[in-house]
Symmetry: C2
Subunit: 165 residues, 2 copies
Amino acid sequence: MTETAGVGRDPEAVSRFVEHFAAQLVEAGLQRMPARVFAALLASDSGILTSAELGEQLQISPAAVSGAVRYLAQVHMVSREREPGSRRERYRVHSNQWYEALTNRNAIIKRWEDALREGVVGLGADTPAGSRLAETLAFFEFMEGEIEAMMERWRVHRDKTFGQA
Amino acid sequence: MTETAGVGRDPEAVSRFVEHFAAQLVEAGLQRMPARVFAALLASDSGILTSAELGEQLQISPAAVSGAVRYLAQVHMVSREREPGSRRERYRVHSNQWYEALTNRNAIIKRWEDALREGVVGLGADTPAGSRLAETLAFFEFMEGEIEAMMERWRVHRDKTFGQA
DNA sequence: CGCTTCCTTCAGAAATTTGTGAAGTTAAGG
DNA sequence: CCTTAACTTCACAAATTTCTGAAGGAAGCG
């Protein structure tokens, strides 16, 4: 049995994982198509799939693939590569791309912090509401630094467990 | 000017913060009404508002308040209190309720982990895809423990900065 | 024990989001 | 250059979500 990349192995098992995991991502706030595309990439052996492969495996139109990938690239959850000497585009997920995704999450928290800072000023730092906002702000600022350190510890831990990347 | 609790101070500034912060929460995946209700509570002096106050301040129907609060209570972002001897219900936010919200986030990650574990088995731990899933799984498991420790450090840091709770 | 107040549930209208087909654009290959 | 393969953009139909008004309880208060 020759295998068209990505749908080799047990298509049943792959699909089961892709849909299940994508559903969890959706529940966490991701849109359906980006979630499915991302899960499909995670579940592929090479970590790389072309637009056509994604469309076929997930039964969606090229337009849907395009939209999903644009979003995923924007938030750094996949990278796009131009296969040299071909008009096929390849989309790749790195197993450590989660850091990027988290970093992106950080950008969201940064905007929360901005809103909170404005709130503290607007409501008055000396009011009960203002000080609640200030404490909330302090929490996020604390988290920011911690996450940085945490990532570093993870890298060490991973290298010990899985061998250097 | 006597003040109906919650809309004292500068209603302009309050509203500006509420809508701005709520918008950020929405962008992070929260639904609009829960986001607005939560922001309104955060911005109130007592951290407590009644259903009527929320409805008036946010210009939404009692039904909308009800729905929003039900959701927020479910994910532990607010608690509901029955004002004794009254049919008014009061909704409260604790400034440290973010931990709860994060803990709730943890529940989501737990389900990610479940899906990943199944994926590792389904695709085969010895396949490239399987090992990618396994590494991803390890990352989340690592995070879980770290977050626990981080919260503890935050509590210490907060007590030093803000005085005991 | 009935009245009143407040909250909830529910059906449906309105708005938003989602995914598609079709047309458009870019770039490889003859 | 022209052709053709591949991705993208766009307008729209369908599905979903969101919020409301109205009806339906529960619980204090007289």
